[in-house]
């Protein structure tokens, strides 16, 4: 039951983070700080899915490296391209 409550909390947290992302887009807010906030938000949501929904904490280290590595690599590369484009 405790685990279900934790996952429900994570689900609601991700819904709130999604609404904050939408608000940024709705008001056409831009700038490096905003882009970084949006990418960090996406990385947090992705990390929560990998850790808590896919339940990767108990599996082989290699799978954890692949999943978290993919998420970090994608978010970091996008961040770098936005910095370059400023």
């Amino acid at each position: 039951m405790k685990m279900v409550n934790r996952e429900m909390f994570i689900w609601l947290l991700m819904m709130l983070l999604t609404l904050s992302t939408y608000a940024m887009g709705k008001f056409a807010v831009d700038g490096l700080a905003v882009v970084m906030f949006l990418l960090v938000t996406a990385a947090i949501k992705g990390g929560l899915i990998i850790r808590d929904f896919m339940a990767l904490q108990g599996v082989a280290l290699l799978w954890q490296i692949i999943m978290y590595g993919w998420l970090m690599l994608v978010c970091l590369t996008i961040a770098i391209t936005y910095i370059v484009g400023l």
Binding site: T21, Y22, T41, A42, V74
Partner: protein, 169 residues
């Protein structure tokens, strides 16, 4: 493998955007952010429902597992309907893959993801059918976990795709 392809797609999109910033920023404003946000909420909720299905089968609650899987499928169906509406809007405006670089990426990225949502739903439906036939239990639920993992991967990809294509500018 899918994650690798999507990862490359995302990075190429970001690099191409740097070379066409004005065009990407301009055409990004034509996308329906509301539908994109609702679709994100649908996929996140659907993922959570599938998590509950895995918990249910671990507790040997087969009926509950099937109901949560159906709830997950409903979220996926909602996503497909809204995405189809979005495509219909764009196609009726004469937009296609060859319209410009931004739409080429928008359509190919989201359609590739759309196909993965369909495949994920087929997998979840097959898992639900097998559960209904009594082929899963608290001792044997690897199939449920595998189907759930694929569905979470589809969600994970959209969580990057939504801000990248619809929001970040």
């Amino acid at each position: 493998m899918e994650l690798l392809v999507f990862g490359i797609f995302f990075i190429v999109y970001a690099v191409m955007r740097v070379q066409n910033i004005e065009m990407f920023n301009h055409y990004q404003l034509t996308l329906n952010k509301e539908l994109g946000a609702v679709n994100t909420l649908l996929l996140i909720s659907s993922s959570y429902f599938v998590v509950r299905a895995v918990h249910a089968i671990r507790d040997n609650k087969v009926e509950s597992c099937i109901h949560w899987l159906y709830a997950g499928l409903a979220g996926g169906a909602g996503f497909l309907i809204l995405k189809a509406l979005e495509y219909s809007d764009k196609f009726s405006a004469g937009i296609s893959l060859s319209t410009n670089t931004f739409y080429m990426f928008y359509l190919s990225l989201t359609m590739f993801h759309f196909l993965h949502v369909i495949l994920g739903m087929v997998i979840l439906f097959a898992v639900a059918l097998k559960a209904k036939q009594g082929r899963y239990s608290a001792e044997n639920y690897t199939g449920v976990e595998t189907g759930a993992s694929y569905w979470h991967m589809v969600d994970l990809v959209w969580i990057i795709l939504f801000p990248l294509v619809y929001i970040i500018r």
